[in-house]
Every structure is written in structure tokens, then in C-alpha cells.
Symmetry: C2
Subunit: 182 residues, 2 copies
DNA sequence: AAAAAATGAGACATCTATGTCTCATGTTGA
DNA sequence: TCAACATGAGACATAGATGTCTCATTTTTT
């Protein structure tokens, strides 16, 4: 469980780094309403803070997906619901995608596990007929990730509502964008 | 036309920044076999160098697309050929995607124009029946971009050849990944 | 060959983010 | 209430990247 100051710092981190990925630790401390020294007391440096943010982010993702897919009637539908559930979180987390976190074993392990879980869900969906079994799972996972990113960007740019973007991404994934597909 | 030193610096920039986006200007100068002062004589600072790299990258993209689509029988096929042509360039250019270049009007304008050209190509493909006219062009453009990125990543990770990745990305875009689609 | 231009190497100053430390103040819990 | 603990503010030191300048040397041009 996070202490009071830690919670404020983490929240400020999401907010500040989302607006500016190269923001200073001083910026984060200020936004958190906390002294710079206090930030250092809880997180040794930038890397530690980023790693902590990543761990929180992944937990948030896990929770959101868990909640969204609780009553899913199928693995395929669960993947669609997951995609939908992720969009609202993307705004505060997307900056982490461009951070070099490979050096932190804890983060790397958690990330790898999340990818594996997605891969397993895709495999299960394949067996249901939700995806073509001849298409490599690695590609489907990658396509899901990048189309989620695409959905987030169009929402961010005001070109679509989260619902519209989710629908477009899912349609693309399932049946493509050729005329006639539905 | 680029002078001798400039060409070496630009090439080193692509190489060094691809490997490490936070590399130093000193690193670039060293890789270019050029003095640090010389680099500064041609490019005032990091931003200038990045902007120059971006301009070169976009010209390379333009040229590659131009060459690849010269004899394309349709706008739709031209888009597929473009996607294929971009993959080999992605390795050296992808780092630019995470650089904040919005502040350089020249770059911003060129980038905007490239997006517009893609949008026009998509509109034309729509009229051919290559894409569903009911799907927003903005989404199709975004989907093309992100699936191109996805294709690059699987190639980079050794999970597919460029040809395989291109085929998967194009299939996804056209008919999705549901079983039965071809 | 002579003049002009470009370069390399290095010294130098600067700036900024970072990390550490201290001490007075405030907060919490026993 | 009192003691243990956390915090804020600021001073301080450091490290790394950046930008500038000089001067001898090399390269290019005329």
C-alpha cells in the first residue's frame, strides 16, 4: 500500500510526465505539493520513480481488464472488452511506452507476463474461431496493441469518442476496413 | 545538397540515435568521424540536428514511396506497395517518432503534408472500393501508420520477414484476422 | 603555388537536473 | 503530553551535455 506522500507523488508523476515526458523531478514534486527532498526519500531517482509508475500502471491495467472481462461470454469478447477498458487509461500511461524500463527486472517481468497473458487470451480466442489459427499469435498481439494505440490517438485528437474508436479498432482487427465488412 | 561532413553527420545521427535516442551529440560526432565543433558548425544544436534528420527522413520516405508506386495499377495497390516500401526504412527512422519536433515549423509542415497525401490516397482508394467509404479516413490513415509500426516491430524482433510482416499488416487492414478471411 | 575555406583537437564557461545534507517545523501515534 | 517520525525549505556539491572560442593543420579552390 502506498503512503500518503507516495500516492501524491505517483499521481503527479502520471499527470506531469503525460504532459511532458522530459519533465523534471522538481516539476513532479511541485505538482505533488511535496518537497523535492521528500520525493527523493521515497524514490531514489528518476528511474526508480518511472519503475514505480510502471508497476502502478500495469496493476491498473490488470484491474481494469479483470473488471471488464469478469462476465465476458467468450475469450474473443473478453479481448474486445479489454481493448475498450484500456482506452481511458491510455492518456495517463502512454508516456511509459517510450521510457527505457528494460533495466528494471521487476518491471520487465511484469510486462512480459502481461504480454503472455494477452497471447494466451488470443490462443483461446483462436480456438473459439475468433481469430484465424493460421495467423501467428505474435502478430495478433502486436496488432491489438498498436490498434489500441491508434484508437487512443484518434480519441486524444478529438476525432472520435472512445466508443467509436473502440468499435473501429475492433472492426479493423476482426474484419478489416474493406467495404462490405461489418 | 549536403556537403561531405553534413552527410556523414546525418548518417551517424540515424545510426546512433536508432541505437540510443538519448545519445550525445559527442557520440554522433564520434560516429561520424568528425570533430564536435564541426558538428556544431553545421547544426546549431540537438534540435537543429533532429530537425535536419527528420527532413531527410521524410524525403527518403517520399522517394521510396514514389519509386514503389510508380507503376501501381490502383490507389489501393499503391497503398500496399507504400507500406511495403516503408518497412526497410523504419529501422533507421523510427526514433524520430518520439522526438518533439512540433516546434520546428518546417518539419511540422512537411509532416502535415505527408499525412495529407496519405489521406488523399486513402480517399482515392475508397472510391475504388478498396476501403469502406463509411469508415473515417482519419482512422484508416491512423490504422495504416500503426500497423506499419507493428510490422516493423515483428521484423525487428525476428518474428517475421519483411514480406511476411507486410502481408500480415495488409491483410489485417483489408480483411481483418478472423478465420476464413484471405 | 597561393589564397580561401573547412576541419580537428582541446580548453573553457555555462547551464540544468540530480542527489545529498541539515535543521526547523509539523504530524502522528503511544 | 511526549516521543518518534515525516516533511519542507533551502544550501550545497556534482556530473553531464551543451555551446563557444582559438589555433594549428588539412583540404579545397583559384
Amino acid at each position: 500500500m502506498l503512503k500518503k506522500s507516495e500516492a501524491k507523488i505517483i499521481e503527479a508523476g502520471f499527470s506531469v510526465f503525460s504532459a511532458n515526458p522530459t519533465a523534471t523531478l522538481a516539476d513532479v514534486a511541485k505538482e505533488a505539493g511535496v518537497g523535492r527532498a521528500t520525493l527523493h526519500r521515497h524514490y531514489a531517482g528518476r528511474e526508480d520513480l518511472m519503475a514505480a509508475l510502471a508497476m502502478v500502471a500495469m496493476r491498473e491495467l490488470d484491474d481494469a481488464i479483470e473488471a471488464a472481462t469478469k462476465d465476458a461470454p467468450s475469450y474473443t469478447e473478453a479481448l474486445r472488452l479489454s481493448l475498450e477498458a484500456i482506452i481511458p487509461l491510455a492518456d495517463r500511461q502512454m508516456f511509459l511506452a517510450n521510457e527505457p524500463l528494460d533495466h528494471v527486472p521487476e518491471v520487465l517481468e511484469a510486462y512480459t507476463q502481461q504480454l503472455e497473458e494477452t497471447a494466451e487470451a488470443v490462443e483461446a480466442a483462436k480456438e473459439e474461431g475468433g481469430f484465424d489459427a493460421d495467423v501467428p499469435t505474435a502478430w495478433i498481439v502486436q496488432a491489438i496493441e498498436t490498434l489500441t494505440y491508434a484508437a487512443w490517438t484518434v480519441v486524444r485528437d478529438g476525432d472520435a469518442t472512445p466508443e467509436e474508436a473502440t468499435a473501429l479498432a475492433w472492426r479493423t482487427l476482426q474484419s478489416g476496413l474493406t467495404g462490405g465488412a461489418k
